[in-house]
């Protein structure tokens, strides 16, 4: 008996390492559905897909995916993906990593990828914590919350990646949530056919670590709580993109632009 997504998985490595109820699994399976849709529609083939990740819980995805994959060093998935795509532009290159990997250590690379409108699909699964290493604060952790490196409460202010990217040149910027997997699939499907940078932030639950910091007793409790906060707008304005924990998490497609992607621009220039 095999799951319809099994052909995209290294099934000999399952069950995966993510905790019971971890949102990453939800996001990854929605992503696979979107890829599957494109492949069955003949837009590209299974061999054309490449997945690159850095380090962290989300980044473990590449260990389980049956594509050409790269599990590189912390924060450096985006430059690796760029090198890959520049040499083989026909590849569909997807970067899957967490908030720490992409917004903290990898922040500069994200900025320049967005500045260039580089042709990648970047999926940042934001669980607002450094899960793999035991629960340290992340640049996206909401204020006041206990983490292991802010044990007296988080005095840090979180970054709003959506707003940051709106100041740059990305073609597509969206936010989804693991509480609404259908939207994840829809946005990833769209991202894979966009020219330029397609960035999707997926707000996720980390029941074992962040959930504990927040005081939730189960994955279901955390999930339901997040679902209460999530509001969907088809095209929300940037002014509404701040995540206000306990109050509002607005998902939707914030930015959709028809812009020339970097690959087209560089090939055009250099072939002269």
């Amino acid at each position: 008996m095999s799951h319809p997504l099994d052909r995209y998985l290294r099934t000999d490595r399952l069950p995966h390492v993510w905790c019971p109820g971890c949102g990453i699994g939800i996001a990854v399976s929605a992503m696979l559905r979107a890829i599957d849709k494109h492949i069955s529609e003949g837009h590209f083939s299974h061999d054309d897909v490449a997945v690159v990740s850095g380090i962290g819980c989300t980044a473990r995805a590449t260990l389980y995916l049956n594509f050409d994959s790269a599990h590189v060093i912390h924060g450096r998935a985006i430059p690796f993906a760029i090198g890959l795509k520049l040499v083989k532009p026909n590849l569909k290159v997807i970067v899957v990593s967490g908030d720490g990997d992409i917004a903290a250590i990898g922040g500069n690379h994200l900025l320049h990828a967005a500045r260039r409108n580089f042709d990648l699909t970047v999926i940042m699964i934001n669980n607002m914590i450094y899960g793999m290493t035991g629960g340290q604060v992340s640049p996206t952790t909401p204020p006041t919350i206990y983490t292991t490196t802010t044990p007296h409460g988080n005095y840090e202010y979180p970054i709003n990646i959506i707003k940051l990217l709106s100041a740059l040149n990305a073609s597509y910027v969206a936010r989804a949530s693991v509480t609404h997997p259908h939207l994840i699939e829809k946005y990833v499907y769209k991202a894979l056919s966009i020219e330029g940078l397609a960035f999707i932030e997926i707000v996720s639950t980390c029941p074992e670590v962040f959930g504990r910091h927040l005081g939730f007793k189960s994955a279901v409790e955390f999930f339901n709580k997040l679902k209460e906060m999530v509001r969907f707008y088809e095209k929300p304005p940037i002014e509404k993109s701040d995540i206000v924990w306990g109050n509002e998490v607005i998902i939707g497609e914030y930015i959709i632009n028809d812009r020339e992607g970097f690959v087209r621009s560089i090939y055009k220039t250099l072939s002269k």
């Binding site: 008996m1 799951h3 319809p4 997504l5 099994d6 998985l9 399952l14 069950p15 995966h16 993510w18 905790c19 019971p20 109820g21 971890c22 949102g23 990453i24 699994g25 939800i26 399976s29 929605a30 559905r33 997997p181 259908h182 699939e185 029941p207 189960s218 994955a219 279901v220 999930f223 339901n224």
Partner: protein, 70 residues
């Protein structure tokens, strides 16, 4: 509805999301010590696939029969 029992981690998300109460926590343990979800009330299933989409372990898939009305 098919549950790949060895992948289930007893997180309860499928049970929580099912609008028809089809799934319950089972009595049997898989080899990792989790009591996997079981579609006890399968007759109530409307084929919405919410369980399939919400499972983080890619452990559930639903095959829609001829009676499915989109």
């Amino acid at each position: 509805m098919n549950v790949l029992v060895e992948r289930c981690k007893e997180c309860g998300l499928c049970i929580n999301i099912c609008p028809k109460g089809v799934l319950v926590r089972g009595e049997e343990f898989n080899s990792r010590g989790y009591r996997y979800a079981v579609p006890k009330n399968i007759d109530n299933c409307i084929g919405c696939k919410l369980c399939e989409y919400i499972c983080p372990d890619i452990a559930i898939f639903v095959v829609r029969g001829e009676g499915y009305e989109g």
